[in-house]
Symmetry: C2
Subunit: 407 residues, 2 copies
């Protein structure tokens, strides 16, 4: 295994790999897994990867598990990336792509991180896992825990809806509704993790980030081992964006690509702590004071644990950040379904809404190659359903023929 | 293209390939596409197929479209087949596999048939398509029609629920609620198809069957180019089972396998026209008189258009048929989620319920290699939710640590 340690994404402090670690003991920044890149140089190439069976475990030299460990897998990764024909034409972009990551086993990109986290749990003999989530991540961790035969704790706020409870509970996880400030649960979970030897595969757990970075690897492979000019991606905790950057940077380090794409981060107007900090030029991300009621429910994190890291990366690597309204997101969702045949949750469509603004602002040029990240499918929570559909027609059988036009 | 014509699945009458055809003009049996197998012999081999990009279009010599036609694709096929470890042990079967076909783009095996039907529509310049369905098939046809830029008519019963309407309408299809006997709509749609030049990609449309047969091809490939002893599969219209048999038989014809597996067909007790006919030894499938209220909503077809063909195949090829209760299905659903991490709709779990009965009856031996078809995911309609989940625990933040056990 070429996993050699952890390094803080913020201050750069390094830690040894033996223990499971989450955050920097010096500055509390999110830790990232490091590899022996000198040892890997020349040993992993685009040709090697291209020849392997599809799925994110093909990149296993760049994942923090032993080569002999059997992955806990539900067939994650290798999601389709479509060239957006109809939509691309309508936007005037001839090189527009959609990475449909809702095609993962439980419907969201989270499965990439969970498969790696769960495999680490099994490899290290950790019998219980958990996460702080009442959305896609909770469902994902519960599913993989079932597959791996691990006890699973999902820490959720009180009074979650019946719909959410169903897909958190169906895999047999212990769902715990915690009375108290939900935003303090992330820290609380890490303290419980340490005391009880439970692996909390939270939003920016270092192993989760390793899995999620494979989306960047796949984007490069999908484009014929090249990078796009832009990746437009949603942010909540910031874990997806920090993972995307890590993936592109590692492929650059290995000489598989020569450049790193710019990333445009998008958040809903009513839940935009990262965007606000970026736009206002503040040094760090401030917690959101209000409770957001955006329809983009997957992006409501009031205090993104990887927010400062994303801010730093965006500034260092010429990225950008923008917020859009819920109306723009719903309209993007409608267009993705009707023009491309892809049904996504609001968080899966918000990148398209952002693209439209960024093109108008001239930040993204129509000639550039752009990848939109569609982070989750719409089959569990489609958002504002009423605005997405038209009323059906009702007709008597005998009149059916007359209302159907000739092809 | 090696597509040379159509042959009636019941009487064997043959028809030329130029026109779009649905049913036999002699006996009204379902038509099946035929190929020039003599011409294909030796030209398509397991090695060829294995070397190609994953997805059902890899089998294109055995699909009824020109080699140069670009498929209308959303990344269908190449669904995972899992070895069921925990579940296999608990059932005492060491060679139990689950083909997770709910991992198709819109969540069900139907996408296999729709991608082929829609590609035929585009290739033949047919601008409008349709289907008779208010379930998975309707959603699938609507999605692919959007991708292909075709007008799409979905013929549904009146007063469909808001939940169903959402995923039928989101892709922009024209949803038509027809007042009248729903079971006569299949025939009505075929008459409209002819008059208005619309391709109705119904449950046993010959092109749909071609796409759906690729599940058999993949099962063979997943097992290292071998067949299992048994495939256990749900039946509604009969289109999945007739397609599975067609796939296995074609691979046998080409010498890729030497045998055809036995198929066990399962239906819910309250909607079992095919099973009844098989068990009672009647010559043909009788229409169901009552309206079924089984929770296995995807399997409610009262008069399966491919029922007689399935009956014939089961008898010729030593298959079997069995009905199970809704309680057994729900229990199977629960076990698939909790033991294997797979969330399926009731129709996706009914094969496991059937397996349990067939093992008990001695029809399937524990030593045999068995593939269960999980036909659709559970994220749109999970069935009897209350029986699938446990109540969550509620606890104050300060007591959280005490209720979490050490790993």
């Amino acid at each position: 295994m070429s996993f050699v340690g952890y390094k803080c994404g913020i201050c750069g402090e390094e830690f040894s790999p033996e223990e499971v670690r989450y955050r920097c003991e010096v500055c509390n920044g999110p830790l990232l897994v490091t590899y022996d890149f000198a040892g890997l140089a020349g040993k992993v190439t685009a040709e090697d990867f291209a020849a392997r069976r599809p799925g994110l475990w093909k990149y296993r030299e760049l994942l923090p598990v032993n080569p002999s460990t059997e992955p806990v897998s539900l067939g994650e990764g290798a999601t389709p990336m479509y060239k957006a024909g109809t939509l691309g034409s309508s936007e005037g972009l001839s090189n527009l792509f959609i990475k449909d990551d809702g095609r993962n086993p439980t419907g969201a990109f989270k499965d990439r991180g969970t498969t790696v986290g769960m495999t680490v749990a099994v490899e290290r003999g950790i019998h219980s896992v958990g996460t702080v989530s009442h959305g896609n991540m909770g469902t994902s961790v519960a599913a993989y825990a079932a597959r791996a035969g691990r006890t699973c704790y999902l820490l959720v706020p009180e009074n979650i809806t019946t719909e959410r409870l169903l897909y958190l509970s169906i895999y047999g996880a212990k769902v715990i509704q915690v009375v108290g400030r939900y935003d303090s649960l992330y820290d609380k979970s890490l303290s419980i993790a340490k005391k009880k030897d439970i692996l909390f595969i939270n939003c920016d757990n270092p192993f989760r980030i390793e899995g999620q970075k494979t989306m960047a690897f796949e984007i490069v492979e999908d484009l014929g081992w090249d990078v796009p000019n832009w990746v437009v991606a949603p942010a909540s905790s910031g874990g997806m964006v920090s993972a995307l950057y890590k993936g592109f940077l590692e492929f650059k380090e290995l000489g598989i690509v020569t450049d790193v794409p710019r990333i445009a981060v998008v958040q809903p107007e009513d839940a935009q702590p990262i965007v606000s900090a970026f736009v206002n030029g503040t040094e760090s991300v401030e917690p959101m004071e209000h409770e957001s009621d955006t329809i983009v429910r997957s992006l409501g994190n009031p205090y993104p644990p990887s927010g400062n890291l994303v801010l730093k990366l965006l500034r260092e690597l010429d990225g950008t950040a923008i917020a859009v309204s819920d109306e723009e997101t719903t309209s993007a969702q409608r267009d993705l379904a009707r023009m491309e045949g892809i049904c996504v949750e609001p968080a899966g469509a918000i990148a398209l809404a952002a693209l439209r603004r960024l093109v108008k602002l001239g930040r993204i040029k129509r000639s550039e190659k752009v990848v939109l990240v569609a982070s989750g499918f719409g089959f569990r929570d489609v958002g504002d359903a009423d605005k997405l559909i038209d009323k059906p027609v009702t007709v008597d059988m005998k009149d059916l023929e007359s209302i159907v036009a000739k092809s």
